[in-house]
Symmetry: C2
Subunit: 556 residues, 2 copies
């Protein structure tokens, strides 16, 4: 009979920045009671996931153990932590716990997918704890770039775990609770078995700066502007929105929120009480009446998203508003790697309009929401854990964070997605490996990233698509000529005749010569036609297209 | 009768960083004799140009005026300046001029495309000049990140133009000619009509650093390494390759060049005499015999290119060599915007192997090849031009460079691709607009970026592809059932039946009900089937696929 044990397992978030999903378990092997921390999304891109809507961690492992799951806990309301809760809940059907603001966002996501909002239970912050199975879980306020972010204090019979969630060490965060070293010291007093910690900024060598520092700079910038001022940041960065809006107000400007996500976030933040004294805003439809030098727009689209307000303004009029020479556009945000081209596209469009664009390159108008290297070290020191488990990072971040811990003698555990770690003993032990991966939300369907569907789309994008139809009559003879349609391929090739015609001609000659054995065998005939068509295309246009052959047989 | 005039026109490079192609003309309106400066490429990406091989400026305007073109001048051998010469030469058929090293590269590109190498004429540097039509063109040595880069001194009856090409102000460039302020002062003495200048780093506020500064840092780094050392930089950065190789040699390591492009560049540089005293290298096949701590590999793939040596090493063995825990990988390079994800993929793969990755974030192991803001200003001061025309930049760079010039009273000309500027008078004047654009090399065919071919591929990547075939018999009645094939779409939808089956069933019922008018009209029938199939798919999978309908009619 095996002893009870405490396990840690990342299904998402330890190997990428995004789609966070962590599992803790306590009990006998293969009988552990489980809790899940966060159900987040990652975002698709054209390179690897064209046409995909959202990316989730593959939760097959959890689904198979559904009856052993006690609950899901959501640390904060960023999409990479809460974004999948509505989409995946139906496969788990367990209670969800979150604080008020996070819970409001989670409830909306549940309803959007046809689930009941009250599956999401609202909990009070630490020192309150949720008692569930062998676990007691408390939401300890921690500063980040969205209100009510919480580190989780997870008490188990094998000891206390501190799961930081996303955090920075900000004692003056403008909106929401400051980082409270005393509270963390208190939490650590009984001893911390493992610190499971954000690793995002482990390569940033200088201590992070407080949200409070950007206020005066933004105020100065807006005060000096002469035309319309438009600023963007993440819709969920409520503190920054407040700072921006106050800078507008101080400069005597009417503040307008543009973009659904932004209006929604501010509304939720006010309703749940995390946001107070937000300057009065003007509805977008009233803004056109105001002289542009008296306007300050706060808009969505800090990452260059094509459908967001910033991109719409870059393309021309949006809700009756238009950027002009002498206006200013402020990116009070960092460009996430991979989004540089989209952001540059917008900046260049504004440049063509004569708009002055200010970005974060000066360091004055944005601060990160994540703990930098010295801040991570400070958190190690505050919590004095037995083990350090880096999470929320690509492999390089996790590895570097382990190294950072080692500098002060901490036992680090490099546990990327799928590595189950047994934390029960005096040393962490790899207890096994679990198959992990990505699930794509494609339209309304969840498909596996390795199912080949998206791979086929990528191939069509790279190579184009060739369709061949052939009709075989009742005597197993070709009826008429083969037909060829091209999609995403040059019309004319080397021989200056239409590509489709050249291929049809080749296939027609081939069919004329084909012997009976081939003509009666769909698989062989398809393969022969495909190969000939691809080779012909290659000779004509230097490309072998994806090729689909449809053989229709007339039957008597 | 119109007077003679001097015109400037960018067809590529003024509005993007890449595909440089500039035109100067002198003569009566529409009779100007023309010269072309650079024929470069830009590189495709999945977002906007999946499956495309290379991107060129659209040279239709030049092609129509072919008989008026005197020559093409190539400033230096970077792909964005010389890469299209072989592909586009056949459409222009005019002499090409370049210095020895650049010319060697250009000649290879000509031969690769079936043209004669000796269409490329090798010229000596300034003060020699090529006399051609109304122009005298000299290649004035200027420092950059590849040997023999030249600014062009273009003398015309309307005055002297200085076209910088790509440059930095480096008086100690390790390989090649230093930046020579005295020479530029001399060149400026007769007066400079227009300075047409690189704008890439106009947003970099601190003066650029010399190539010489990275040597000691790299030497220190390599000396301290214990395992194998692998370093990457642009294959054409001959000075950096020399610095890296010397650091390896100083640490007692055998130097190995990995990657075809790199070996080729070093060979050309040695053969044309621009590279001297390069450390002896070891053939890759002999490297496996050497203990890893005595090896230094210089590899291609600084931008994360999937087929380059760095990516191959990140995936496993390459030419018998393999990275291991304790080895070091150095990016002696900057990641070009858009390539971050590819580079991160490699870094994470190395992280999983336990390899220590060093990048340029410290600023110690890489310097840029372009002039920073203060350097641009210094060039303005050296050449004291009448007008400043920023080039080699996105719109934001050009605009900012005009502003920089204005700080010292320079008359700037913001002339993005297609803006023809008349420089003859005392003030620059926009003389017209020319249609510009991009030409894609797709396989072996040149297609227009707006031809719709790549757009169709992008649509298939986003939406998948549905193929429907219907056979209509001699009496205009459907023969058998419609057939549906899906490509890049989920197999099962909402009704849990195969998507293709559900669509076939819908189409079959529709055809059963269809009246004769519809069945005899291919266009209407196609459209009706397409709409029904897309709507059915949308109900099943929440996506409307690209749809191709093939109707085959049996004729008597």
């Amino acid at each position: 009979m095996s002893a009870e044990r405490l396990i840690y397992l990342a299904l998402g978030g330890a190997g990428e920045i995004g789609m966070n999903c962590y599992v803790y378990g306590y009990g006998r092997e293969e009988e552990e009671r489980l809790i899940v921390v966060d159900l987040g999304v990652a975002f698709p891109d054209m390179d690897s996931s064209p046409g995909v809507d959202l990316i989730f961690a593959d939760i097959a492992w959890l689904e198979e153990r559904r009856e052993r799951i006690e609950a899901v806990f959501i640390t904060h309301a960023h999409e990479d932590h809460v974004g999948a809760v509505g989409h995946l809940w139906g496969r788990l059907r367990v209670p969800v716990y979150a604080r008020a603001f996070t819970g409001a966002i989670a409830r909306r996501k549940m309803e959007d997918q046809g689930h009941l909002a009250d599956e999401v239970h609202i909990v009070q912050p630490w020192p309150e704890q949720v008692n569930i199975g062998p676990f007691k879980v408390g939401f300890a306020p921690i500063s980040h770039s969205i209100p009510e972010s919480s580190g989780l204090v997870i008490d188990t019979p094998a000891g206390r775990i501190v799961h930081t969630g996303d955090f920075k060490r900000d004692t003056d965060p403008v909106v929401g609770e400051p980082f409270d070293p005393e509270m963390w010291r208190e939490i650590a007093k009984p001893g911390v078995k493992a610190l499971v910690s954000d690793s995002t900024n482990v390569f940033s060598k200088v201590a992070g700066r407080s949200e409070i520092v950007v206020g005066p700079e933004i105020e100065k910038l807006v005060a000096g502007a002469s035309g319309m001022v438009v600023a963007t940041t993440f819709a969920s960065n409520i503190a920054r929105l407040k700072t921006l809006a106050e800078a507008g107000q101080a400069a005597g400007r009417s503040v307008v929120l543009l973009g659904r996500a932004m209006r929604r976030m501010v509304t939720e933040a006010i309703e749940t009480g995390v946001l107070k004294d937000f300057p009065k805003t003007l509805p977008p439809e009233d803004a056109a009446q105001i002289p542009r030098e008296n306007l300050m727009l706060l808009v969505t689209g800090s990452q260059g998203e094509r459908r967001a307000a910033s991109a719409q303004l870059a393309r021309g009029k949006y809700l009756g508003l238009e950027m002009k020479e002498g206006d200013m556009f402020l990116f009070s945000s960092k460009t996430i790697p991979g989004n540089e081209k989209g952001v540059a596209r917008i900046i260049n469009a504004f440049s063509e309009m004569g708009v002055d664009v200010v970005d974060d390159s000066s360091g004055l108008y944005h601060v990160s929401g994540h703990a930098n290297r010295p801040d991570l070290k400070a958190m190690h020191e505050l919590t004095k854990p037995q083990f350090l488990i880096p999470m929320h990072g690509e492999h390089r971040h996790l590895r570097e964070h382990v190294k950072l811990g080692a500098e002060t003698g901490l036992t680090g555990v490099l546990a990327p997605n799928g590595t189950m770690v047994d934390l029960s003993g005096n040393a962490p032990r790899v207890a096994g490996y679990v198959d992990t991966g990505r699930t794509y939300l494609d339209g309304s369907v969840q498909v596996g990233a390795m199912d080949g569907i998206v791979r086929d789309r990528i191939r069509m994008a790279l190579n184009g698509h060739l369709l061949i139809t052939v009709i075989i009559d009742e005597e197993d003879e070709p009826l008429g000529d083969p037909w060829c349609e091209v999609m995403g391929l040059p019309e004319l090739g080397r021989s200056k005749a239409p590509l489709a015609d050249v291929i049809e001609e080749e296939l027609s000659q081939f069919l004329g010569r084909a012997d009976d054995d081939l003509l009666v065998d769909d698989d062989k005939l398809s393969e022969a036609l495909r190969r000939l068509a691809r080779n012909t295309a290659n000779g004509e246009i230097g490309k072998k297209p994806e090729t689909t052959v449809v053989i229709s047989r007339l039957t008597t």
